[in-house]
């Protein structure tokens, strides 16, 4: 765990010259705030390990099966949360992603089945995934246009799309789940490579790409600038409308990939696939160090946030705790996380003199 914290300090610091690094005197509160997701994760793992040993003499941490399960558990909320990270850093929010994921899962199931009639299984699978991601892009484009051109507040615009995507998904699925029969898709959803589930490998590759885009490209840099000061970004010549449009398409497509992987894992598409994941994804982003006011956050932080939630959810099941405690535990972690963020704002310079 020792090498991970350096990755969560904001991207500015990782590549900038290190010569006078000692002078970057961050307060204790700022350090805690930046690492909070990892601290939560460490605390949870220690707690669960002690708990497991005391209550039934087993181990939580040393079981590979547990970690596989936690990782698979984390994949879908993480994919949604990655898109959400971009949106939240820009100062927006995307409430529609849960049902866009459901829509994509249904589309993936239908299209894979239909394509399976004409193509071999691997090709049909790829066509199904591609259609799912593209279909997810449609509500993303509408979200983006509503917010960037028609100035609809993100909360309301995406709430409307939440309903539209939900209804469309249920209509497409005729109100039930749509089973898929495709051996390759089933293997993608449940197979392993040297013990690591394929789903986790896909998610890890996706995390790397999205981390690169956010931390190393102009698009990512502009995203942070827009979240901090939209006027400044506009005056600097950044095309805000275009950026916002791309952002919501990106968020929807992340959910689309999540939907396709859902169809792979359960060999079925269901409209309600992503229903509980929306709030989990926002929680992962916030626990991961982003501020809902915009301007801060990172993909690595969000990964930690998603792991915190997955560990709580899986760990409590593992320890035979009634499932309702999961909601309470996740809720408490969110509240503590936001309290730490507020404390950081108060103690770190800059804001208080305005």
């Amino acid at each position: 765990m020792m090498d991970i914290p350096t990755m969560t300090t904001s991207d500015e610091k990782s590549v900038a010259p290190q010569a006078d690094h000692a002078e970057v005197s961050k307060t204790f509160v700022q350090r805690v705030a930046q690492l909070r997701a990892w601290l939560f994760l460490a605390a949870l793992i220690v707690t669960f390990e002690i708990w497991a040993r005391l209550s039934f003499g087993g181990t939580f941490v040393l079981s590979a099966f547990n970690w596989q399960s936690v990782a698979v558990f984390a994949v879908a909320p993480l994919l949604i949360a990655i898109g959400q990270t971009y949106v939240i850093i820009s100062g927006g929010i995307d409430l529609s992603t849960g049902f866009i994921m459901g829509l994509a899962a249904v589309v993936a199931a239908h299209v894979t089945n239909i394509a399976g009639l004409y193509f071999p299984a691997p090709v049909a699978m790829l066509i199904g995934i591609a259609f799912a991601v593209l279909a997810a892009g449609v509500p993303g484009v509408i979200n983006g246009l509503l917010i960037s051109r028609l100035k609809v507040p993100p909360f309301i615009g995406t709430l409307g799309m939440f309903g539209v995507a939900r209804g469309t998904a249920f209509l497409l699925a005729s109100g039930t789940t749509v089973p898929v029969s495709n051996s390759w898709l089933a293997a993608l959803g449940n197979g392993r490579f040297f013990g690591v589930p394929y789903l986790v490998l896909v998610a890890a590759a996706f995390v790397l790409i999205m981390h690169y885009v956010l931390s190393q490209t102009r698009f990512g840099q502009h995203n942070y600038a827009i979240g901090a000061n939209v006027q400044a970004a506009r005056r600097a010549g950044i095309d805000i409308k275009k950026h916002i449009l791309k952002l919501y398409v990106l968020s929807a497509m992340c959910a689309g990939l999540g939907g396709a992987l859902y169809a792979a894992r359960f060999t079925a598409g269901a409209a309600q696939a992503g229903e509980p994941l929306l709030l989990d994804s926002v929680a992962a982003v916030v626990i991961g160090g982003a501020s809902l006011f915009g301007g801060s956050g990172s993909i690595i932080g969000t990964v930690a946030g998603a792991l915190v939630i997955a560990v709580i959810q899986y760990g409590l099941v593992f320890l035979n705790v009634e499932p309702f405690w999961q909601f309470i535990a996740v809720g408490i972690v969110i509240i503590i996380s936001v309290l730490i963020d507020q404390a950081q704002r108060r103690f770190s310079g800059g804001k208080q003199d305005e």
Binding site: V15, P17, V24, Q216, A225, G227, A228, R235, I238, S348
Partner: protein, 247 residues
Amino acid sequence: MNSQPLLEVRNLSRHFGAVKALENCSLLVRPGEVVALAGDNGAGKTTMIKTLSGVYPPSSGEILIEGRPVKFSSPQEARELGVETIYQDLALADNLTIGANIFLGREPMKKLFGFLPVLDRKRMADAAAETMARLDFHVKRLDAPVSNFSGGQRQAVAIGRAVYWNARILIMDEPTAALGVPEQRKVISLIKSLKAQGRGVIFISHNLQDIFAVSDRIVVLRRGIVAGERAISETTHDEVVKLMIGG
């Protein structure tokens, strides 16, 4: 006073419907000259700078840069012609470094491993250090977000960005308004160094002390017209106040 004016405004008018926000205003800025724009609230200062910075097109009249008539339809075009406006509310992204702010919207890229394009943060940091040194602001924490700096330092970053991109005319809207006294002095000395570099500065302020400390000339607006223009060496606070309130 022999050199060609950097910026010349001839008989500029700007109407909003029936409201004449500016009527036949003329203004001249020479290289190395600081011109203060003064006036009460609603006198037309903001309209004047927004017209000069490309936000509003003029209703009539001419703007000339180094003798050539220009028309800008956006702040970007004004900036490309060397007119940079530094707004009171500090147009910085507080969460980014000085370098990232200087290069915001035109970030330099480099290739990692020969193929992967990444932001060239080293170049941004180097440019930031060099620019801030030119303004006599020695900031060591180039990897810290600008929110860690004081108001005066952030003002310097905004000015530094303009200087880096070679702005020849800087329009500064109340650059000292939000600052404490030592910081105000620092900004005043910044303006003096811009002047020494031969740039033209239009300086909007309510603070007559600052105006008298740094300007060569003062143009007083009142209800959309130029109420008077004086060389700073030949006028007094009282006279300027009279011009501002009329009578």
